[in-house]
């Protein structure tokens, strides 16, 4: 596996916000976007996004087999709003995050499939933070970012 230096700074306040959101959403998965100023290696703002997995599952259980306890799907309408906000204010996406209720920190097969649906990521510069929320308490987090040389997502531990 090749090594790639990742120097995106994620401050404690940002991590605390997503931990609180993960705990509040438990036993469902929480998700959202962390943004930062364009061209700077800093992730400074948190936008929680509604997880519509249950809505999709209710509408089409054959296609969306999972519920929000084991899956997340960011609300496309809220996603668009944050995207527009970013463009208007010279910010950009730095991180997509989600929680794993009662599961550990790892980038699952489902996470990989969704992040790189055609074999390569749709947002190669954007990392993915996964937090573990066990028995309602956020206990661990890692970032998974795309390494083009390895052709895979590499883990950077944030809290263990």
């Amino acid at each position: 596996m090749s090594y790639m230096y990742r120097d995106l700074k994620i401050n404690d306040y940002v991590l605390q916000q997503i931990f609180l959101q993960g705990e509040k959403a438990y036993p469902n998965e929480a998700c959202g976007i962390i943004i930062g100023p364009k061209g700077y290696n800093a992730a400074v703002g948190v936008f929680p996004i509604k997880n519509i997995q249950d809505e999709l599952h209710a509408k089409d259980p054959q296609k969306y087999t999972r519920t929000a306890t084991t899956a997340y799907y960011m609300d496309p309408r809220e996603f668009k709003i944050v995207e527009k906000e970013c463009e208007d204010k010279e910010f950009e996406f730095k991180i997509f995050y989600h929680s794993h209720p009662d599961h550990g920190v790892y980038f699952s097969e489902e996470d990989r499939l969704m992040a790189a649906p055609w074999g390569e990521p749709a947002y190669p510069q954007v990392g993915h933070i996964v937090i573990s929320v066990t028995k309602g308490k956020a206990i661990a987090a890692s970032e998974f970012f795309w390494d083009p040389e390895a052709g895979d997502f590499i883990e950077r531990k944030l809290l263990t």
């Binding site: 496309p76 309408r77 969704m114």
Partner: protein
């Protein structure tokens, strides 16, 4: 009727590196079908083996997600813009 379609970066190798292409048709389904003749291979990236739009892609007409409109049968008119945007989703 001509409609603009925004193509996500990973699929631009199929559309000759174009981020925006022109499709023809009065519904999403028709527009996507018209693109397949110009850009073979696009259809398989957008549809699953059961012939349904893949679950990890969001399709918008202007800023509206077609999942909350009429899906593939959502009507489009000249000047509309369709966006194909990979969903941000996953699971443990």
């Amino acid at each position: 009727m001509s409609v603009k379609v925004r193509i996500p970066t990973p699929l631009q190798k199929i559309t000759q590196n174009l981020a925006v292409v022109e499709g023809q048709g009065a519904t999403i389904k028709a527009v996507l079908a018209s693109l397949e003749t110009k850009y073979p291979g696009l259809h398989d990236r957008l549809y699953d083996d059961k012939g349904a739009l893949r679950r990890f892609i969001n399709f918008y007409v202007n800023d509206e997600d077609i999942r909350f409109l009429k899906g593939e049968d959502t009507p489009v008119k000249a000047g509309d813009e369709i966006s194909i945007v990979p969903a941000i989703a996953g699971g443990c």
